[in-house]
Assembly symmetry: C2
Homo-oligomer: 340 residues x 2
């Protein structure tokens, strides 16, 4: 393709996984900025902080004491948005519709070292996180009341992260949330029609073009999706058609960890700051079906746009219309590739 | 109804206008906060700022001089995300789909007084803004290349607003953005089935219950929708079935202005600060069809949660799963009603 119009003129691109569009305005990257700046957080943190409720050996708000863990530590969220023993009920009152939602929310510490982030960890260390994700997806998914497991990380204060200790979360629940429903439908329609994985076929196309690829090893590709919304959004996709992270063998788990190490390290170099983002794994529901149409993937949504202090705001038009971006996916790829 | 389960247990509520769900976790409002605080902006601004590119008589970046306007002033955005003379093209390359998008983006100054916001203006002054919105919707909509007109305001630095001078924006374009498409579908399905307006029927139900109503006058209701996502989200809905803002007569335009005055003033009292939000009007497309299924409405999405400095972050789970809120719509109504 190499359609230069995409670099010069306003257009919208289709997200094949959700069926929704993103508005791209390449010419707008030049406008001046007089708005809010974020505080830069380049403070050097100690390896242990006695006031941190995630550090090993410390006492949490509910009185529980964290073990002296050596790599990864998982526990049930003390302020869980979803609870397994919550009451079930439903409301069907004219145009008011509600359903109770039960679930289990966990916190996963990536390392006992308070000063680190995934970007500071090597693939061997990150592999332990991947293995913990696999274990949790399996255990939670085996629970008959859990039909979907959302693994994610909020990194950085600007992403609402309330504690800098390296950690992520897992919210698992009885029904499929909005974004997962969209991807379920799009992938199912494609699979029924083509008998192949939507994301797998997309990946083939991207690997041929080499326009949006950031990194690949034997089992994984890191790329900027054609329909990326966030300025430096990226996606890690397994080359094999795998519906969920349990289908990775040990070698693949290591290669996945390597892909995470590569992209998070590159991110920190973009604006010379600990790069904030929300990341998440979208994978097959744990509803007992084979879900052959699913192709799991991990996405990174970083909010920074121009510098460590200027972010992209998803506000007015984005809330009422469609997401909108200024720099194109292809420009972002070029910038990230330079930093590998 | 008065279902007390909704105040005590996790559940999801259906947004009848988009078909999407919001997760509500009432028990979670109690968790402590150690995360990012926003700067409070209670600076008193002068009525005129010589460095402001929106103040009357000042020169904008492109060299144009603002007139000495006395109430409302509208001009084409100097850094428009959409342009009317942009090239049209389309990309249909395997799984890569893109379409050019053309449009017109305008800026609308609500008042020459740099120090004000809508909350400081009286209904008579706000009415002038409403009339300008009507004029723009009409003029832009009459353009055969414009099929949708999005009127919105980003208020406050935390909402990406780059200039505190009271102003909003209008982005108009050739196709319907995501959120509008969803509401179009839901309203059309309901109208075809029931031959009445979805939002009109919902309004009747809410007026009977009186559980989520904040304010009403002869022509408008201000309420917190059952499915509200943002902590203090509200919606202004015309009592009559009107597809767009042109169907208001002069008296209704005044009453709409009154509704805006009431809710914005109440907002400023919640945390004793100039309350940030994005607001927007969703109304019938200007595609030449009668769009009888549309019932126009204005929504306010304010990000603050616990205080002038602690906001609700729509991050990890919200980005990958569904929006999530802690305090219920009904609690928010009670808090806002106290401030009228
Ligand atoms: O046009 P402004 O006010 O400079 O920009 C603001 O509103 C736009 C429309 O919602 C957003 O795309 C920008 O991210 C935001 O900073
Ligand atoms: O659970 P935390 O880290 O305190 O909270 C953070 O992540 C949650 C899940 O994405 C969000 O709902 C919160 O708004 C955010 O502050």
């Amino acid at each position: 393709m190499n359609n230069t119009d995409l670099q010069d003129y306003s257009h919208k691109r289709l997200n094949i996984l959700t069926g929704e569009w993103v508005l791209v305005s390449p010419h707008r990257a030049k406008r001046p900025w007089q708005g809010q700046n974020e505080a830069v957080n380049n403070e050097v943190r100690p390896s242990y902080d006695e006031s941190c409720y995630l550090c090993a050996g410390n006492t949490r708000i509910n009185g529980e004491v964290n073990p002296n863990y050596e790599d990864v530590f998982v526990f049930t969220n003390d302020f869980a948005a979803l609870q397994s023993d919550s009451k079930t009920f439903s409301v069907n009152d004219g145009l008011l519709t509600a359903e109770s939602e039960t679930g289990i929310c966990k916190v996963i510490c990536f390392s006992p070292d308070h000063s680190k982030s995934l970007a500071d960890m090597n693939p061997k260390e990150i592999e332990k996180v991947v293995v913990a994700w696999q274990k949790e997806y399996k255990e939670l998914g085996d629970n008959p009341n859990i039909n979907y497991v959302q693994i994610f990380e909020n990194k950085g204060a600007v992403m609402g992260c309330s504690n800098p200790h390296p950690h992520g979360q897992i919210w698992s629940q009885s029904t499929l949330p909005n974004e997962v429903l969209k991807k379920n439908t799009q992938q199912l329609n494609y699979f029924n029609k083509n008998n192949s994985s939507l994301l797998g076929d997309y990946l083939k196309q991207e690997l041929e073009k080499q326009e949006r690829i950031i990194f690949e090893n034997d089992s994984f590709v890191v790329l900027v999706p054609f329909w990326a919304v966030w300025p430096f959004e990226t996606m890690i996709v397994p080359k094999k058609h795998q519906t969920n992270i349990l289908e990775m063998d040990a070698n693949e788990a290591y290669q996945y960890a390597e892909a995470i190490a590569v992209i998070t390290k590159a991110y920190d170099k973009i604006f010379n700051t600990s790069f904030p983002y929300s990341s998440g794994i979208h994978q097959a529901p744990t509803n007992g079906e084979d879900n052959k149409h699913w192709h799991w993937h991990m996405s990174f949504y970083p909010p920074l746009l121009r510098s460590a202090t200027v972010k992209k705001f998803m506000v007015g038009y984005e809330m009422f219309g469609s997401p909108q971006r200024d720099i194109t996916a292809e420009s972002a790829v070029k910038m990230i590739r330079e930093l590998l």
